[in-house]
Symmetry: C2
Amino acid sequence: MPRARSTSTPRARAGRPGPRAGRPGPRADVDTKARILEAARTSFSESGYAATTLRGVAATAGVDVALIPYYFGKKQDLFTAAMDIPVRPAELIDGAFADGVARAGARLVSAFLDLWEAPETGPALLTMFRTAMTDDAARRSFTEFIASEILASYARHLDTEDAELRASLAATQLLGMVMVRCVLRIQPVAGLPREQVVALVGPSVQRYLSGPLDE
Amino acid sequence: MPRARSTSTPRARAGRPGPRAGRPGPRADVDTKARILEAARTSFSESGYAATTLRGVAATAGVDVALIPYYFGKKQDLFTAAMDIPVRPAELIDGAFADGVARAGARLVSAFLDLWEAPETGPALLTMFRTAMTDDAARRSFTEFIASEILASYARHLDTEDAELRASLAATQLLGMVMVRCVLRIQPVAGLPREQVVALVGPSVQRYLSGPLDE
DNA sequence: CGCGTCGCTCAACAACCGTTGAATTCTCGG
DNA sequence: CCGAGAATTCAACGGTTGTTGAGCGACGCG
């Protein structure tokens, strides 16, 4: 493991920077930090964590590689910064239940589609989901987040005693719909108009929320 | 991880005069190729393609790194070899429809659970799914495979004209159940006995297959 | 004008990656 | 008994990665 390579570099001129450094071009008229973040979001969601290289992110952002550690620190910090998106699941669920449990199924499907199809939140959600599928530590925190935030919010609106069972069953249908339509884009579900998807899978969610479970 | 290597390999560590190599231990009592394949399957499914290193696979298989290119060629070839599992989706679906469309929902749920919970096929399926979510080329071939193999098999058993729509809707529920129960392992669905899951989500799949879609 | 500071570039570094080639030992058919 | 070939090892190569540190240019404040 120790390569014991002292300061004898194969190249000449060790330690001293090159003759050309500094900032030759004009000052950044656009916000460099935001450009890095956006490039990082798309790269993480399209290629995953391990396959994303800082050099690739820097290239699509049009900046130097060293600017990323300069602004964000380590690669893991860039990742958490890219995943920090504004989404309040509790408010979303409360909104879906606003006018009665009887309509909550369709409302939930609609809200889920909003979240996953918006360019602001969709890529980050996909990345979090993918990481939760892969990394075990991420999976634990992800499922704990779902249990304490999402399922608990459901349970507040369903005052039956099997509320958590019903909530997690509804999650299977909601997640599966999002996978098939937004991620894998399997036809014909992927090509249907939004309202039709809501009308088709809404009743299934509704059955889990308020219908008879044993039949 | 059974490391049942009974015969000890005498590692005579003498000096270090130039290149010394060869095979010091006894010949492979266990099938080396199979051990590499198994280690590769679990590593690919737990860490993904980019994050799996040949050195890591070799370490958990207990062999030298160079044996992997020796047996499997490039890393991509090892990947395709690890993904080559015996699964005949058409037969599976035909079996689920064997005694009538009316019972196909529960049968399909049961067959899906078998497939994803078996240690033989589960990891590879998970890997294929994850890769399809990440890589766009893999996604296209995956969805095309689903359309031409899976959905077409469904459609053969449902002779209505919206057969493909019904099949892809059923896929949302089946995939979502597998995600929540087998991959993310969200409670309480993950902790339920098998038959209860079949009883709970079977009717939802059944509705997509033969129930009224507009209600 | 002097000077610090901020934004940025360049070059290098150590570590690790996949892959190759040569060396060595074993097994086995002739 | 011997040589052919398979199985396994070590060492190295060229490339890429994340990260660091030093230098450069412009700007703002004194």
